[in-house]
């Protein structure tokens, strides 16, 4: 074969190029960008009229909100399952999600010679890790599918780190009895996200980027589609769909000023589901990582302590001696996080209020070891605190890390919710695999498993279902158009960014690592007031084109709503379980609280309900390691 076939444009020599540069300013001519590929645009992707019997409303068969690991995998499987139009909507470019930040690995039992691990063992560890709040039938299904997902993503091109014999290599993670965490160096999340993105691209999945989910519409009890805002133009429009999958990620950003999660993890899908009438399950279950930088909460990974780093209080004491004399700094995450908060609460921290912190000290490891083994951690210290760990200890504090709670999924085989046609996957949904505490490596596995099941479930449903009516869709669209006009026109009121930071502080103080009846009640009241103020706050930008201030205003509204659910559930869970620590009820209480919290929105009120946990084989026992 010949390269000549393609060679229709004369090649440039370096000199002609330089000549051209001299003649044309570098930022010069705008060249049309359509020579190699069609530009993806809503108008080109979405069907209209004929397909739905409506004249001007865009439509598709399966609409997926969110383009992280779960959303991308759902898209591939929705396309495989039936001959349907599938569209992935994202408020950003697809690869910006929280999935890419995961480092450690993805759990799944892979059979190989000499291996002692089993699906039962993975299931038991997950149940125990969840502090018995995970549903055991769901967990059994999950571990089986997680094992399949490892082999399948390998087949899709996932660059797994390998053992010498060529199989996927595994590492140990805390809380597991066997090494079953498959990984790709220290960038597993990044690798799995891009594996799925690449595979979705290759499978012909269509993307609608720079579009924000505003609401999910329900007509006669059935999902009718979604209202989207084209961030590029400001246009707010309805999209009809036979099925909608919400895979929009977690809501850990409610702790805005101290969380390891990305800026975009604002729970948009969960909030839309709540407004559509679905319960928000276990919203109080938010996992904290013990070590984040004090300003912003970016993670200092466990490797820092694993390599021998010290945790020091204001007096320079290695305070872990008081909490875990045997393991010292290597104690489990929750114990270490509580130890740090106790030091600060008892006045042995450095600084006050949101500035209060303890120190992580690596200096004794020596320059060479820090540079060789922990370059990334040193880099984070330099970036966020301007502290060089070679010379100085770094100010740290626990940071909000993962949301176990999410949209109530009632069928973990299909990821269906109580609204026909509406599905949820990934951190966005709660089936519940993680219960009150997620084990390391289970988040990526859950994204792969639930994404696939939701894709199949939604496509199977959509292949049989018709389009629901569009009255609700049109009504919501009008409401949001008014909302944009009215909200951005306001010139008097508090700046909403200030309210966001106040929300984060209220949550940290009232619903952080230590929770009490009084603190939670105060937080609930404070949030109610902030939410009121939010509704008359100023955005500061009324332009239609790429108005990121308005995008964020909606996100903050979503977070306020979700935070109020979380506080309500935390207030009523008068026990300590997993990530939820009540100082006034330090013991787990299976007699009264072996159930999921379900919070619904009724008008303007948040209403709490309960559902028992599904127990299959493992009777609840004390969680000890």
């Amino acid at each position: 074969m010949s390269e000549k076939d393609f060679d229709d444009i004369p090649s440039l020599s370096r000199r002609t190029f330089l000549e051209a540069c001299a003649a044309v300013p570098l930022a010069g001519a705008v060249i049309p960008d359509k020579a190699f590929a069609q530009t993806a645009d809503a108008e080109g992707i979405l069907g209209t009229g004929a397909a739905t019997g409506s004249s001007d409303v865009a439509s598709c068969d399966v609409l997926i909100i969110g383009s992280g690991g779960a959303g991308l995998r759902a898209a591939v499987y929705a396309m495989r399952t039936a001959n349907l139009s599938v569209l992935v909507v994202s408020k950003t470019m697809p690869s910006r999600s929280a999935t890419c930040m995961a480092e450690g690995g993805i759990n799944g039992v892979v059979q190989y010679q000499g291996q002692k691990d089993s699906l039962e063992s993975h299931a038991f560890d997950t149940v125990k890790g969840s502090d018995y709040l995970g549903d055991q039938d769901c967990i059994d299904y999950f571990v089986e599918k997680a094992s399949e997902a490892i082999r399948e993503t390998d087949f899709w091109g996932m660059p797994y780190s390998r053992a010498k014999d060529g199989r996927v290599d595994q590492r140990f993670m805390a809380g597991h009895q066997y090494p079953r965490t498959n990984y790709s160096a220290d960038k597993t999340g990044h690798a799995i996200l891009h594996t799925n993105f690449d595979y979705a691209l290759g499978s012909g999945v269509k993307f609608l980027v720079d579009h924000q989910l505003l609401d999910v519409a329900v007509e006669d009890g059935v999902c009718a589609g979604a209202v989207l805002r084209n961030i590029k133009t400001g246009e707010i429009k309805p999209v009809r769909a036979r099925a909608v999958i919400l895979a929009a990620g977690g809501y850990t950003r409610i702790f805005w000023t101290r969380t390891s999660t990305p800026y975009i993890a604002t729970g948009d899908g969960t909030a839309a589901a709540l407004r559509a009438g679905l319960p928000f399950k276990d919203p109080e279950m938010l996992q904290f990582h013990p070590t984040g930088v004090v300003h912003g909460g970016v993670l200092i990974t466990e490797a820092a302590r694993g390599e021998g780093g010290y945790l020091l209080n204001a007096k320079g004491e290695r305070f872990m001696e008081r909490y875990a004399p045997g393991k010292m700094e290597l104690a489990p995450r929750d114990i270490t996080a509580r130890a740090i908060e106790t030091e600060i609460a008892q006045g042995r921290g450095i600084g006050d209020g949101m500035e209060a912190h303890v120190l992580i000290d690596l200096r004794h490891l020596g320059r060479e070891k820090i540079l060789e083994r922990l370059p990334q951690i040193r880099h984070v210290g330099l970036m966020f605190e301007n502290v060089d760990l070679v010379e100085q200890p770094l100010p740290i504090r626990p940071t909000a890390h993962y949301s176990m709670g999410g949209i109530d999924v009632i069928d973990f085989h299909t990821m269906a919710t109580a609204i026909p046609g509406l599905f949820a996957a990934g951190e966005c949904g709660c089936e519940s695999i993680h219960g009150a505490n997620r084990l390391g490596g289970n988040s990526l596995a859950a994204a792969m498993v639930t994404g696939k099941e939701a894709g199949i479930g939604a496509a199977t449903y959509a292949a049989k279902a018709g389009f629901a009516g569009e009255t609700a869709l049109q009504r919501l669209t009008e409401q949001w158009r008014d909302h944009f006009r009215e909200t951005t026109a306001r010139t008097k009121g508090t700046n909403f960014v200030e309210l966001r930071d106040r929300m984060a502080q209220v949550l940290w103080e009232g619903m952080g690592i230590f929770r009490t009846e009084k603190g939670l009640a105060q937080a609930a009241e404070a949030l109610r007031q902030i939410h009121q103020e939010y509704r008359v706050a100023t955005v500061g930008n009324s332009a239609p084109v790429y108005n990121t201030a308005y995008t964020h205003y909606i996100e903050v509204g979503n977070m306020l709503s979700l935070a109020r659910c979380a506080v309500l559930a935390a207030l009523n869970r008068r026990e300590s379980r997993g990530a939820h620590t009540r100082v006034d009820f330090p013991q787990r209480n299976d007699k009264d609280f072996l159930h999921h919290s379900l919070v619904r929105l009724k008008g303007d009120e948040y209403v709490l309900d309960q559902r028992p946990v599904t127990i299959v084989r493992y009777k609840p026992e004390e969680r000890k390691y």
Binding site: D5, M93, G202
Partner: protein, 322 residues
């Protein structure tokens, strides 16, 4: 008080202007935290994108004084020192369509990325049920290419794209194609290479801007070279690109000298070179960049072998044998 000023290129969908924002110097700032502070304290209408702030999601690439960087991974002090000034120009990535201020349009780039035929098409002995086999050494060969975070820095200053983006792709697209072409699990590495051959694989100008700009130390230019070599090894030897490369090698093997006057006819054929390059040659002569005597000497006379040619030949033969 030390004051820092950002001159930010603004665009609201129809109007472009430059707006200056001044703020107090703080050694703890990154370029991204400066942008956030400006947006939240001075001007909520300023638009940019950011997500993970840990240099792994690729959202926040912008140009500082014309050079693409990841805003979250760039300390303010380091760029102030680099440019020796407390005033910096912040602009959106080059070679992208600007949507607003520092926000660029990724939609067309996604479609261009699709042309690399991404996603593994695994060899027959592997199945989705059993997974694949790969040695640690084979994994290591593709590991670097998998570090790509699609931030767009490599495309921003790509001179070939700036000159004409109709017959060339963003460097990251070639890196994506190559990670499947080099994967030991791939059934047909040439599948990806062929797509790239038709989309500018031989048109890279070797300016190395992509290599110097990549915040993950990936070398897209090397991925382009690797796919060219793979194509050549698979018999795709016709066309200007392969002939140009072959002419380089012939020169090096014969004399160790790169004879640029001979290079053109060897690449394009004598007749094409004589007709197509005539006006260019004439302009060179006219502007004094080349003299007739020099050209004649180069073409006919200057072909003596360099010292150490044997060693060079050994390297070339060693590579060829591999």
């Amino acid at each position: 008080m030390r004051t820092i000023t950002f001159d930010i290129d603004r665009f609201d969908g129809s109007r472009s202007w430059t707006q200056s924002y001044s703020f107090e110097h703080d050694p703890a700032h990154t370029v991204l935290s400066c942008l956030i502070a400006i947006k939240e304290k001075q001007d909520p209408t300023l638009n940019f994108t950011a997500s993970c702030r840990s240099a792994i999601c690729g959202s926040c690439a912008v140009r500082v004084n014309g050079n693409a960087v990841l805003a979250c991974d760039t300390k303010l002090d380091s760029v102030l020192k680099q440019w020796g000034s407390d005033r910096l120009q912040i602009s959106p990535l080059g070679n992208f369509t600007v949507l607003s201020d520092l926000v660029v349009d990724w939609s067309p780039k996604i479609e261009r990325l699709r042309t690399a035929r991404t996603g593994l098409k695994a060899r027959k002995e592997f199945t989705a049920e059993t997974g694949c086999q790969q040695t640690p050494a084979e994994f290591a060969r593709i590991q670097k290419q998998w570090d790509c975070i699609l931030c767009g820095c490599c495309a921003s200053e790509c001179n070939k794209l700036t000159d004409d983006r109709r017959d060339f792709l963003e460097p990251f697209v070639y890196t994506h194609a190559n990670r499947y072409a080099q994967d030991s699990r791939s059934a047909e590495p040439m599948l990806h290479v062929r797509e790239m051959l038709g989309r500018g694989l031989w048109k890279c100008l070797h300016c190395m801007e992509c290599v110097t700009k990549c915040p993950k130390q990936i070398a897209p230019a090397a991925d382009i070279s690797a796919m060219r070599a793979l194509a050549y090894a698979n018999g795709v030897t016709d066309g200007k690109g392969p002939r140009h490369a072959a002419a380089f090698r012939t020169d090096l093997e014969n004399t160790g000298r790169l004879n640029e006057v001979r290079l053109v006819p060897r690449t394009e054929g004598l007749i094409d070179a004589a007709t197509g390059r005539m006006s260019f040659t004439f302009r060179m002569l006219k502007s004094g960049k080349l003299s007739t005597r020099e050209a004649t000497k180069l073409y006919f006379v200057d072909n003596s072998p360099i010292e150490g040619l044997d060693g060079l030949r050994k390297i070339i033969r060693y590579r060829r044998a591999k």
